[in-house]
Structures are given as structure tokens and as C-alpha cells.
């Protein structure tokens, strides 16, 4: 059974600080997704990582994928309050987008 573990599950950070969210998974996969969810809202796609060593950046967020270590990271640079949300990673071991397995999410709160 594929397991996807995120840590931390809860993260409070000060504005302006940097931090990293980790996503570990238990089986081979070279395709990984990051999503953002605001309270009571749907999921918004942030990044799709397609191969080992893939790195993508959008604003203050940067995601990377190490398929050999079965690890993806979501790095937050100089956090701002608007980044407060829950962040999910999801793994697609088949590479066919048929079945994604989601982590439990990291609830991020950025404090002023």
C-alpha cells in the first residue's frame, strides 16, 4: 500500500521567515503534485513535478522532487500572510493520472 507522509502537519511561522514542507512516499513514482487548499474551498494546483530533479518555482514557493529518495519538498521563502492555507502533496505512481494518493496535508499559518 502506497503511503504518503507530510511533515510537519501543522506549521506556524512568522512573516518574512523561510521554511520547508516535506513529502515522503513509500513507492517508486516520478510524478508528484502539490496543491493548496484554503478553508472551505477546493484544491488549487500549484506544481506538477514530472521527473527526478525537477524544480519549479512560483512566487515565494519552490517545489522539488528527488525520486531516488522518494522525497519532495515545498520551500517557502519570506512568508507572507496570504500563504496561510493547507498544502497537500499527491503521488501518481502509475504516471497515468489515474489514481493519486494524497498526503494528510500541512496546515500553514503565517503570523504577522
Amino acid at each position: 500500500e502506497l503511503k504518503v507522509e507530510q511533515n510537519p502537519l501543522f506549521l506556524s511561522m512568522q512573516e518574512g521567515k523561510n521554511y520547508t514542507i516535506y513529502c515522503n512516499y513509500s513507492t517508486t513514482s516520478d510524478r508528484l503534485y502539490w496543491y493548496r487548499q484554503d478553508p472551505g474551498k477546493s484544491l488549487e494546483s500549484l506544481f506538477v513535478l514530472l521527473s527526478n530533479g525537477a524544480v519549479k518555482q512560483e512566487g515565494r514557493l519552490m517545489a522539488s522532487l528527488d525520486t531516488k529518495a522518494r522525497l519532495s519538498t515545498l520551500h517557502i521563502t519570506a512568508a507572507v500572510h496570504d500563504l496561510s492555507a493547507t498544502y497537500f502533496c499527491a503521488v501518481d505512481p502509475s504516471g497515468s493520472a489515474r489514481q493519486l494518493t494524497f498526503g494528510s496535508g500541512t496546515q500553514l499559518t503565517v503570523l504577522p
Binding site: L43, R98, G103
Partner: protein, 115 residues
């Protein structure tokens, strides 16, 4: 820009009742999905479809049924509702297999409570 549209947004069911959650997408996507999200948890796949007439079970299919008669629509049927089916349900769609990666687009969610 409708994207993925789900109805209803909120529903309260009594134990043993049945209902259908509707989902429609206007992006001509081949793949469609139903997920459920329990409080404080990630999403779990209930059923998915790779095209009209083709459906398959996901991780948690028990108590649910689906059909895919058209590319656009993918309804989820709950038979004999149970309290364990209280959850938020998300429908999603994606273009399908492709080298560019498959961004999966989610609907707004349907909040279901079984009492």
C-alpha cells in the same frame, strides 16, 4: 469559465436514504474522478473514469456507484447512506495521459452530512 461544476453544494441525508451528486466538466477532459475528504485529512479516491463508458474503483468505493455515459458528466450515487459517508466530496477532471503532465482540476466540493 465553468470548469468542473458540482451540485448540490450542501446536503443533509437521513440514514438509509439515497442520493446522487452531480458533476459536469466543460473542458472536454477524458479523465474524471470522485474524491472524499474527511476532516483534517487528505483526499481519498472513490472512483475514476478514463472515458465515457469506462469506470474503475479507487481506494474507498464501498457504498458508492458511478456511471459515465458522456464525456461531460460523472455522477456519484450514494446508496443507503451511512454516517460514515459524512464528508466533503470533490469531483475532478484532467486531460489524461500526456508528457506535459496532467493538471487535475477540482470542483468546489459538496458537503454531505448523514444523520
Amino acid at each position: 469559465n465553468a470548469g468542473v461544476t458540482q451540485t448540490p453544494k450542501f446536503r443533509i441525508l437521513k440514514i438509509g436514504q439515497s442520493m446522487t451528486l452531480q458533476c459536469a466538466q466543460d473542458m472536454n477532459h477524458n479523465y474524471m474522478y470522485w474524491y472524499r475528504q474527511d476532516p483534517g485529512m487528505g483526499l481519498k479516491l472513490i472512483y475514476y473514469s478514463v472515458g465515457a463508458g469506462i469506470t474503475d474503483k479507487g481506494e474507498v468505493p464501498n457504498g458508492y456507484n458511478v456511471s459515465r455515459s458522456t464525456t461531460e458528466d460523472f455522477p456519484l450515487r450514494l446508496e443507503l447512506a451511512a454516517p460514515s459517508q459524512t464528508s466533503v466530496y470533490f469531483c475532478a477532471s484532467s486531460p489524461g495521459i500526456g508528457r506535459s503532465g496532467n493538471t487535475i482540476y477540482f470542483g468546489e466540493g459538496s458537503w454531505l452530512t448523514v444523520v
